[in-house]
Amino acid sequence: MISADGKPVMLSLEEVSLSYQSRRQSFDHGSHHVLERVSLEIHEGETLGIIGRNGVGKTTMLRLMAGILAPTSGRVRQHPGKTSALLTIGLGFRPDLSGRDNAMLAAMLQGATARQARGYLEEIKAFSELGDSFEERVKTYSAGMLARLGFTTALMTHVDILLVDEVLSVGDAQFREKAQKAMIERITGDQTVVFVSHMEGQVRDICNRAICIEAGRIVADGEPQAVLKTYRELR
């Protein structure tokens, strides 16, 4: 897959729409979002920021890219042989299991073997700074602790396309800084990243391209500063 300007395309959305029938009018956290004929190409090594108001379909877009959801119409194409993973915090943890078990499960679901997953655990425990809480049930965790665990388990996965959903927006300031630093280290390699955030500073610092979504369509695409300006006008 090569784009018009000769750069390898890691992931492309072609005229992608997503709509569904919901009797209870709820999706995720009560919002109802639909994408309409969205087209987008993501190139190798690019760090793309997706911004938009709450409930415009940012998470849905990442889920389409990760292959978790299928578009109602249009096509989502991934470069053959490349792997991708969606990183989110909080959601997806089983509250009755310990932090260790959850981290193990997350790694195995991401495709790691049991042995590899066990190998990541000490690293996860150390980076997340959870200490003894790592052995306790996730049910007892504060939002900040959940964010630490979520980000760290996410960071340990090694894939070609990283789809990041608000992972850096929570937690205490000290950990957020550490997380952001670790993230930038990953990004400066040839890692391709799609990054959803509502924190303008992060998009400006980390991304080299941004898009803004409004009402299921891309309303701005290009250099982060310019896209952020469009975003501010919408609010």
């Binding site: 709820s26 978790i68 959801l69 969606l86 959601l91 009755d96 299991l97 195995m108 495709g111």
Partner: protein, 257 residues
């Protein structure tokens, strides 16, 4: 994900759940045995002490039926809600949706291992001696397992599509509890034609009877019948796996919305 990795994951999820469940209760793993025994006690009090069925071997008769039935009903009931219950993971990872019900069934399988040991213990205490015929139990348990997985997949898909099925499945289990010959003997019905009909229409009644034939009466099960039930379950299981693999994203959307 390779098949080996898939089954390792199923096994890991099942073990983690069992450990988490045990840590929640004061009596921990003892509940594996205690819960089915309490069920058996309730039935024993009602049908033997109060209603006086008059069977000398009623306790063993009841345990053969009830313990196997509990394996089926608990596994299918819990598995039916498993995709929806795991929607956090479903919304994060594109994984085949068969994973969640199978992990629940696996959990039940481990528990049932302990329950079967208990059943054998009771049989020995009651003076039943193991014989080579007891080996016939292996295909019976296998067919029972296939039936559980097939029903678990059907249930999980239905609940994913329309949540109300969760209620209907729970009610269906109560219906099966009364119609599968757990506290009454399928073979002792006044009309022999009715016995044939129940065994033919309700594969669960056939399986429960097969357990009793093997363990209590040293009689091998009706192989042809067992074969058909096994084949039917396997075919159903195959169809469900194909449906769930092909429509993985559709089920994800349904679980999330």
């Amino acid at each position: 994900m390779s098949l080996v990795q898939y089954f390792r994951l199923v096994d890991t999820m099942a073990r983690m759940s069992l450990r988490a469940e045990a840590s929640r209760y004061f009596l921990g793993y003892i509940w594996w045995i205690l819960e089915p025994m309490l069920w058996v006690s309730v039935f024993y009090v009602v049908f033997e002490v109060l209603l006086q069925t008059g069977r000398a071997d009623f306790l063993v008769f009841l345990m053969c039926g009830k313990l196997a039935f509990l394996w089926f009903s608990k596994s299918v009931n819990q598995a039916a809600n498993s995709i929806v219950m795991n929607r956090g993971l479903v919304g994060r990872i594109n994984v085949t949706k068969t994973l969640f019900p199978l992990a629940v069934v696996q959990e039940g399988l481990y528990r049932q291992g302990a329950v079967f040991l208990l059943l054998f213990g009771v049989l020995l205490v009651w003076g039943y001696t193991p014989s080579p015929t007891w080996l016939c139990l292996v295909p019976v348990v296998l067919v029972n397992y296939l039936m559980i997985v097939a029903c678990a997949y059907i249930g999980a898909c239905l609940v994913c599509l329309v949540r109300d099925f969760s209620m209907i499945i729970a009610l269906g289990m109560t219906f099966l509890l009364f119609t599968s010959g757990i506290f009454w003997d399928v073979r002792a019905l006044p009309d022999p034609a009715m016995t044939g009909l129940v065994l033919a229409v309700n594969p669960l009644a056939f399986l429960l009877d097969a357990y009793r034939q093997v363990l209590m009466f040293n009689t091998p099960p009706d192989w042809a019948h067992l074969g058909w039930v096994g084949l039917g379950s396997a075919a159903l299981l195959y169809v469900m796996v194909v449906i769930m693999r092909r429509n993985s994203q559709y089920f994800a959307l349904k679980a999330l919305s």
